[in-house]
Amino acid sequence: MNTNKTNFKTMKINYINSNFMKTSKFLLSAILCLTVLVSCSDDDDTPSQPNEEEVITNVTLTFTNDADATDIVVLLSVDADGEDGPLAPVQTITGNFTAGATYTATVNLFNAIENEDITVEVTDEEPDEHFFVYAINGLDITLTRSANDVVRTDGNKLGFETTWVANTASTGSLTIQLFHESESVDDSNEFGIQSGGSADVDITFTGVDIQ
C-alpha cells in the first residue's frame, strides 16, 4: 500500500502542467501502478487442510446383559464423511436382545476423521449443555436412566448410561438423539423430553430384535 501512495504523489507532480499528452502518460502510470500492486501481493500459500473437530462420524450404543457379560448388543452408525458429506450413514446391528433380560447401555461418540473421542466432551466437560433423548417404536422394551448415569447440575440425568429391560419378543426401531443447548430438559419421562435444543445426533436404528 505504501508503494501505491508514493506513486500517487509522483503522479500529481507530473500533471501540474496541463496538456493533452500527459493524459496518456497518466493512464500508463495507472497500469504500471497495478503491475506493482499485483506483484506486491503476497501469493497465498496452500491453505491448511480443514480439521473437522465437530464431526461425529461414529455413534455406538453398546448394551451389555447385566447377568451375562457375553450377551452384547451393539448399535453402530457410521457416517464416514460427516453431516454434510454425500455418503449416507451406514447402520449395523450386532446381536439380539434376549426377552426378559436387563441390559446396561453406554454411548460412544467418535470422530474418525480427526481420530478423536468426543464422548468425554459431552459426559465430562459439558454435561450441563447436553441431553440424550431416546425413543422406541414397536419394541417391547423398558428404559430407565441408570443410577450411575451422569447427573447434570439441574438434577436431570444426562442419559449417557441407561438400563433397558427387554420384555417380550418384538421387532422395531430405536432412536437416539443428543441435544445441545436445550432451553429445558426433563428426565421424569425416562426417555427424556427437551425443548429449544439443536440436535447433534439423531439416529434411528431399524430392525432391532428382541428374541
Binding site: 493524459t23 496452500t46 491453505p47 480439521n51 464423511d81 458429506g85 417404536n137 445441545h180
Partner: protein
C-alpha cells in the same frame, strides 16, 4: 419560443449599441457538475459595459457583436464568479459552467431543493439528507425502502440487505464515495458495511444503466455520496442523538466539516449504536442485540481545475442472531415452524451471544483529478478495502469462543477515468479499472464455506451522452470486463465424486507433496476466466416543462460469485446443505424499462415499468434430502434457469390542501423461471400511503401518519418436503415455502425545528412504529420461520445543526 422571447426582452437594453457589427453569441449557463441550467445568472459584458441575465433555461443571447475578443464576467448567488474570453470570428455558441455551491448547502439544510442525479436516463431516485437522517438509528437497507420498488431481504432486524426490483446480493453494486463495496456481498445474511450516517445523498439506480460502476449490476446500483465540498471558509457540524423503546437502543452520530476558500477541506464523522433484545408484540426476541461503531475522515483540496482527496472509513458491527434460529437438523426446523413461537424466550438483555456475526470493514481511498481545458477531466483513484467477517455458532466446548466462519477479504482497486465534456452537447466518459482481491480463510475447525482465492478483474468502459436538442437526450455505453478466479479448495473425495468433478475437473486436482496426506480430502485449484460484455442505451424526452419520458435498455453480465461456485456445506440457520457448482456460466440480463414523470409545484408522479430477462439466472433449488448421524438435511443446489422479472413502481405526491400532502408508493413485481414457476423470495404487492401536515410558520412542524400495507405473496415455488419421522414412521410436512399472511401497519412521525441561534438549530423528531403493536411475519425475513417481527417502537431523535 419562450427562449427567444426572453432573449429578446433581455436584449432590448443592448440594441442601442449597434455598430457595423452583426455577430451573435448564444450562450447557456450551466452547473458544472450536472449540467442543470442556472437561471438568472448575471452576465457582464466587459467591452459593452452591459449586464444581462440568463433566462429560465440558463440561456442568453448577445447580438450585434463585433469581431474580436469579448469578455464575459458571469456571477450567480452562491457561485464562484467566472471570467471568460471568447474570440468572436462568426456567430458562436458558448456554454459556461459555474461551480454551483449554494445547492450543496441546500442539500444539507433545506428540504425540497434540487438534488443531483447520477444518471440522466436511468430509473434513478435520490434520497436526500433529510430522509437519510430519519433512518439514523437504522441501516442502509431500511432507508432504501423509501424508494418504490426497493425492498429488503432480512435476517432478523439488524441484517437488512437491499433488494431492487426483486434482486439482491451480488446483483446489486453498492458504491461508497465512489468505491465499490467488496464485503462478501454474495451472502444473504451479509448486510452492506456502511454507516447510513456517513451518507449525505444516496442514489438508487434500477438496472445496469450506470456502466461506469460495473457491468454486472443486474439488479441495480446504490451510490452513496458523502457531503459535497464547499469552497468557502466555513465550519459546521451536526449531531444526532436518538433513543428507542423497542430494544432499548440508542444511536449517536456526529460530524464536523471544515472548509477553506482555497479549496482545502476536512470532514470527520463518527457513529455509535447499540440495542439489546428486540420485542415482538407477545414475546422477547432473545439474542437480537447489536453494537456498532463507525468512523470516517475525509480531507483534500478541491478546486475547479484540480483536486485530491484522501478518505478513510471504518465500521465494526457485532450482531446477535435470534437464539431460536440455531437449529440442529430438519426435525428441529419442523418443530420450530409448527410451534409458531420461538423455543427460546428469555428476559431482556444487551448480551450478544452465539450465534452472532462480527464484521469489520476498513476502506482507504486516494483520488486525484485534474481538468484540462477544452478536453475534460481526468480522475485517478486507488482504493483498498479490508473486510473481516467472523461468524460464531453454537459449538462444543472451547470451540464456542472461536469463529466457525473466518474470512478476510482484501481488495485493491485502481481506477482511471476520463470525462470529455468540452462539448456539452456530446460528452464522453471512458475509464479503465483494475482490481486484485484476496480472500483468506484460516482453519476454524469447520469446513470452509468459501475457499481461499485470488481474483483479478480488469474492466474498460466508454459512455457517451448526446443532447440532440432541448427536448431529447440520449446516452449509451459499452463495457468489457475480464475476471479471473484462482481458488484453492479442499474437497471431500466423496463430494468430489458425487458432483461428477472427477470426470470433468480431474486436471485441477493438486497432488499432495511428498510427506503430505490429505486423507479423505483432495485439494483442487480451480482457475476460471470470464469475459463479460455489457451495454446500455437510454433516452430522456421532455414532453414539456412538467413531464418527461425515460426509456432504457441494458445488457449486463454477471459471472458466478464464490458462493455459487464453491459453496459446500451446512448452513445452520436454514438447516440445509448448500452446494455450489464449478460448471456455472455467467448470467446475462436484458432489461428494458421506461418511466413517465410529471412534476409541478403541488403534484409529482413517477411511474416505472420494467422487464428483465435473465438468461442462466443462478438460484438455489432443493434437490433432495441427505441423511447423517445428525439427522436429515435438505440439499439445495445452485442451478441456472432463464428467468424473467417484470413489474411497475409508482410514486405519487400531491399537496391536496394547504399544508397537507399525500404520498403513495406502490410496487408490483412478478418473477418466473423457464417453466413459468414463480421465483423464490419475490416481494409481494405492497402499497404505502402517508398523509402529512406541515406548518413552516410553527417551528417547521410536521406530523404524518403512514399506512404500510404488504399483501400476502400468493405466487411462490413449492419447495416443501414430506419427511418420514423415522422413530414413529409418521409423515411430516416441512413447509418452508408458504409465505406468511399479508399485514397492515400504521406508523406515526412528527418533528419540529427550533432555532437556538442564527447558526444553531435543534430538530426534535418523535415517531411510533407499528402503532397498534400488530403481530406479523415478513416473507422476506429469513427468520420468519422462528418468530414474529417487531412490535411497537417509540423513537425520539434530537438533531443539532451548528
Amino acid at each position: 419560443m419562450k427562449y427567444y422571447f426572453m432573449s429578446l426582452m433581455l436584449f432590448v437594453f443592448g440594441l442601442h449599441h449597434a455598430q457595423n457589427c452583426n455577430l451573435t453569441l448564444l450562450g447557456e449557463v450551466k452547473d458544472f457538475h450536472d449540467g442543470t441550467p442556472i437561471t438568472a445568472a448575471n452576465i457582464y459584458i466587459k467591452q459593452l459595459d452591459k449586464y444581462i441575465i440568463s433566462d429560465f433555461d440558463g440561456k442568453f443571447k448577445i447580438e450585434d457583436l463585433c469581431k474580436g475578443e469579448i469578455t464575459l464576467v458571469i456571477s450567480h448567488i452562491g457561485c464562484e464568479t467566472k471570467t471568460t474570453t471568447i474570440n468572436m470570428s462568426g456567430d458562436a455558441y458558448k456554454t459556461i459552467v459555474l461551480e454551483h455551491h449554494i445547492e450543496e448547502l441546500n442539500e444539507v439544510a433545506v428540504k425540497g431543493s434540487t438534488y443531483r442525479n447520477t444518471t440522466k436516463t436511468a430509473q434513478e431516485t435520490v434520497l436526500k439528507t433529510s430522509t437519510i437522517e430519519q433512518y439514523s438509528r437504522l441501516s442502509l437497507g431500511d432507508a432504501l425502502k423509501e424508494v418504490s420498488g426497493v425492498s429488503s431481504i432480512n435476517t432478523g432486524n439488524n441484517i437488512v440487505k437491499p433488494m431492487i426490483n426483486g434482486l439482491h446480493s451480488s446483483r446489486l453494486l453498492i458504491l461508497n464515495n465512489n468505491v465499490r463495496l467488496q464485503d462478501q456481498e454474495w451472502g444473504v445474511e451479509h448486510a452492506p458495511n456502511i454507516d447510513i450516517n456517513s451518507a449525505n445523498q444516496i442514489s438508487v439506480i434500477k438496472g445496469a444503466g450506470a456502466l461506469a460502476y460495473g457491468g454486472d449490476a443486474i439488479g441495480g446500483v446504490v451510490v452513496i455520496k458523502p457531503g459535497r465540498i464547499i469552497r468557502k471558509d466555513s465550519l459546521y457540524g451536526k449531531t444526532i442523538l436518538g433513543g428507542q423503546t423497542n430494544g432499548r437502543g440508542y444511536n449517536l452520530t456526529s460530524s464536523l466539516h471544515k472548509s477553506y476558500k482555497s479549496g482545502w477541506y476536512a470532514n470527520v464523522q463518527g457513529s455509535l449504536k447499540q440495542n439489546g433484545d428486540f420485542e415482538a408484540p407477545d414475546y422477547n426476541l432473545t439474542n437480537t442485540g447489536l453494537q456498532s461503531q463507525s468512523f470516517s475522515v475525509q480531507t483534500g483540496k478541491h478546486t475547479f481545475e484540480s483536486g485530491f482527496e484522501l478518505f478513510y472509513s471504518y465500521i465494526n458491527n457485532e450482531i446477535a442472531i435470534l437464539s431460536s434460529s440455531h437449529i440442529g437438523n430438519v426435525n428441529d426446523l419442523i418443530n420450530a415452524i409448527n410451534s409458531r413461537e420461538p423455543a427460546i424466550i428469555r428476559d431482556f438483555s444487551y448480551n450478544i451471544d452465539n450465534p452472532k456475526q462480527e464484521v469489520t470493514h476498513h476502506l482507504v481511498k486516494g483520488k486525484y483529478f485534474k481538468r484540462f481545458k477544452n478536453f475534460g477531466k481526468v480522475n485517478l483513484q486507488y482504493d483498498y478495502q479490508n473486510n473481516q467477517r467472523l461468524e460464531f455458532d453454537i459449538r462444543r466446548g472451547e470451540l464456542n469462543n472461536e469463529a466457525a466462519l473466518d474470512l478476510t477479504l482484501q481488495t485493491h482497486t485502481l481506477l482511471a477515468d476520463v470525462n470529455l465534456d468540452a462539448n456539452l452537447n456530446h460528452k464522453f466518459n471512458f475509464g479503465v479499472l483494475a482490481r486484485y482481491q484476496d480472500n483468506h480463510a484460516p482453519n476454524t475447525g469447520v469446513r470452509r464455506l468459501i475457499p481461499n482465492y485470488e481474483k483479478y478483474d480488469f474492466g474498460v468502459y466508454l459512455t457517451s451522452e448526446w443532447r440532440l436538442n432541448d427536448k431529447l437526450l440520449i446516452d449509451g455505453g459499452l463495457r468489457y470486463d475480464f475476471n479471473r478466479v484462482d481458488a484453492l479448495k479442499f474437497y471431500r473425495i466423496s463430494r468430489w465424486i458425487e458432483r461428477g468433478y472427477d470426470e470433468d475437473f480431474a486436471d485441477i486436482v493438486v497432488p499432495p507433496e511428498d510427506g503430505e496426506d490429505f486423507g479423505s480430502d483432495l485439494l483442487a485449484n480451480p482457475v476460471f476466466d470470464f469475459h463479460n460484455i455489457s451495454a446500455s442505451i437510454g433516452s430522456r424526452y421532455d414532453l414539456n416543462s412538467n413531464s418527461y419520458i425515460l426509456a432504457n435498455f441494458s445488457l449486463s453480465s454477471r459471472p458466478p460469485n464464490p458462493a455459487e461456485l464453491f459453496s459446500d456445506g451446512l448452513h445452520h440457520s436454514a438447516a440445509r446443505i448448500e452446494l455450489g457448482d464449478l460448471r456455472l456460466n455467467p448470467e446475462i440480463a436484458h432489461r428494458i424499462s421506461t418511466t413517465y414523470g410529471y412534476e409541478n409545484t403541488n403534484f409529482n408522479l413517477s411511474v416505472d415499468l420494467f422487464y428483465n430477462a435473465i438468461n442462466d439466472y443462478m438460484y438455489l433449488r432443493p434437490t433432495g434430502v441427505l441423511q447423517s448421524n445428525r439427522g436429515a438435511f435438505p440439499v439445495w443446489e445452485y442451478e441456472q434457469t432463464n428467468a424473467k422479472l417484470f413489474g411497475t413502481d409508482v410514486t405519487v405526491s400531491y399537496d391536496f390542501a394547504d399544508r397537507f400532502n399525500w404520498r403513495n408508493k406502490t410496487s408490483l413485481i412478478k418473477g418466473y423461471d423457464a417453466n413459468d414457476q414463480p421465483l423464490i423470495d419475490m416481494p409481494s404487492f405492497n402499497t404505502t400511503n402517508s398523509i402529512r401536515y406541515s406548518n413552516n410558520n410553527w417551528y417547521n412542524f410536521s406530523a404524518s401518519i403512514q399506512s404500510e400495507w404488504v399483501f400476502e405473496q400468493n405466487e411462490f415455488p413449492d419447495f416443501n418436503f414430506v419427511l418420514e419421522n423415522p422413530s414413529t414412521g409418521e409423515e411430516v410436512l416441512l413447509d418452508i415455502s408458504t409465505p406468511p399472511p399479508g399485514y397492515h401497519l400504521i406508523h406515526f412521525q412528527s418533528e419540529a425545528t427550533f432555532a437556538l441561534s442564527n447558526t444553531t438549530h435543534l430538530n426534535v423528531a418523535l415517531g411510533i412504529n407499528n402503532l397498534f403493536d400488530t403481530s406479523y411475519r415478513n416473507y422476506l425475513n429469513r427468520l420468519r420461520y422462528f418468530a414474529n417481527d417487531l412490535g411497537r417502537n417509540l423513537t425520539l431523535q434530537l438533531k443539532l445543526n451548528y
